[in-house]
């Protein structure tokens, strides 16, 4: 499942984000493509991902964060 997911992500259009933001998005189970970037050229930062996650009432967030620590 993991494999096909990233496979899809790879095909899912160009997202402009720092790798740390991408990792955070994975950890927070956020779809990076859905995050609005606030950086130059719409780049997605760590903060954007966090803001998105907080605005999003996704249940998985907490467990993802815990399992990452």
């Amino acid at each position: 499942a993991e494999e096909s997911e990233s496979g899809t992500a790879a095909k899912g259009g160009r997202v402009f984000a720092s790798p740390s933001a991408r990792r955070l998005a994975r950890e927070l189970d956020v779809d990076i493509a859905a995050v609005e970037g606030s950086g130059p050229g719409g780049r997605v930062s760590d903060a954007d991902v966090r803001a998105h996650a907080e605005g999003d009432e996704d249940e998985g967030v907490e467990s993802a964060v815990t399992s990452a620590t």
Binding site: E3, A10, R43
Partner: protein
């Protein structure tokens, strides 16, 4: 009369040399055993008979002397095409290459230049003795003033060699001896150039970009085919390693967001490092996974009982591609 011939890569070297020898009287070909013997790989076969020993000649066994005299000839206005018998035997000439060939233009503010093409077969996999399997292109790409070219097909070989010989600056022309005779391609009879500094996409793909050159191009394409249907792999043959075609690399990467660099040279300090560093510099925002390096090991190239373990082959490249994609 045909317009093309079906040639191996080493035959294309020979054909390229022949074309340039015919085209320009200032071109001379020399080195150890390149005359009557036609080169230990037969890359100069027949040229001695055809052009005579003024144009195609053997030298004493002295690499620094070969490159040093080539520099003198080049500064004088000739277009020398010396051969190093194996890239592992170019080191005695290293000072002449990096201190003089690379710098004569800058030192003399372009009064003198060194339009020399220094041919050398490189790479492993042919069950050769010690020191015969080096691939240390990174030594030359770190020296400003040199160009470094590595062909991967017969057709490119002839065109890149012609472009190198006609280039006003010194070119280290590294020939992938593993594939000297591995396959044939239709090569035009007439002379032509393939522009230096331009990468070539050998296979288009959207999931991951493989950047490679020379003898590693074929196993990279093989790996891509093996993964076909599963992962859509782009394979870019860099062809000129200095100056590098950064635009093509970055563009491909921005498309895929994932990359694998494949080279035979040891990992640490190999060109894969420069490619990874540049990618993250220019396209970090697109980067979905680490640029994976599938390379030789950080060991001297082993004697032949172990050489096949040393060199990347399709299975290893597939693993590397999966690693990049599954990150």
């Amino acid at each position: 009369m045909s317009d093309t011939q079906n040639l191996t890569l080493v035959q294309a070297v020979r054909d390229g040399l022949k074309g340039e020898l015919e085209r320009d009287e200032d071109v001379v070909v020399f080195g150890e055993d390149v005359g009557k013997n036609g080169g230990v790989f037969r890359a100069t076969q027949g040229l001695y008979d055809e052009f005579g020993e003024e144009r195609v000649f053997d030298t004493p066994l002295a690499e620094s002397g070969i490159v040093g005299t080539a520099i003198g000839m080049a500064a004088y206005g000739m277009k020398p095409v010396p051969e190093m018998q194996f890239s592992g035997f170019a080191y005695p000439a290293f000072d002449q290459i990096v201190s003089h060939a690379a710098r004569l233009r800058t030192r003399s503010r372009s009064r003198f230049s060194v339009p020399m093409t220094l041919r050398m077969p490189y790479g492993g996999g042919i069950r050769a003795p010690e020191h015969h399997s080096e691939s240390k292109e990174a030594f030359y790409t770190h020296e400003a003033g040199l160009k470094v070219v590595v062909p991967s097909t017969p057709r490119d070989t002839k065109g890149l060699l012609a472009a190198s010989i006609r280039d006003p600056d010194p070119v280290v022309f590294m020939e992938p001896k593993l594939i000297y005779r591995a396959f044939r391609e239709e090569v035009p009879d007439e002379t032509y150039t393939v522009e230096l500094g331009e990468a070539k996409t050998r296979r288009e793909g959207s999931d991951v970009s493989v950047f490679t050159w020379g003898a590693m191009t074929r196993p990279s394409l093989e790996a891509a085919e093996n993964l076909d249907g599963d992962i859509d792999v782009e394979v870019v043959d860099l062809r000129t390693l200095s100056p590098m075609d950064w635009d093509s690399i970055v563009e491909s990467f921005k498309k895929t967001g994932r990359a694998v660099v494949v080279h035979e040279a040891p990992k640490t300090g190999g060109l894969g490092a420069e490619i990874a560093a540049t990618i993250q510099e220019e396209a970090l925002g697109y980067q979905k996974a680490p640029v994976t390096r599938v390379t030789g090991f950080d060991t001297p190239f082993p004697l032949y009982a172990l050489e096949d373990y040393y060199m990347p082959e399709a299975a290893r490249i597939e693993d590397g591609i999966r690693e990049a994609v599954e990150f």
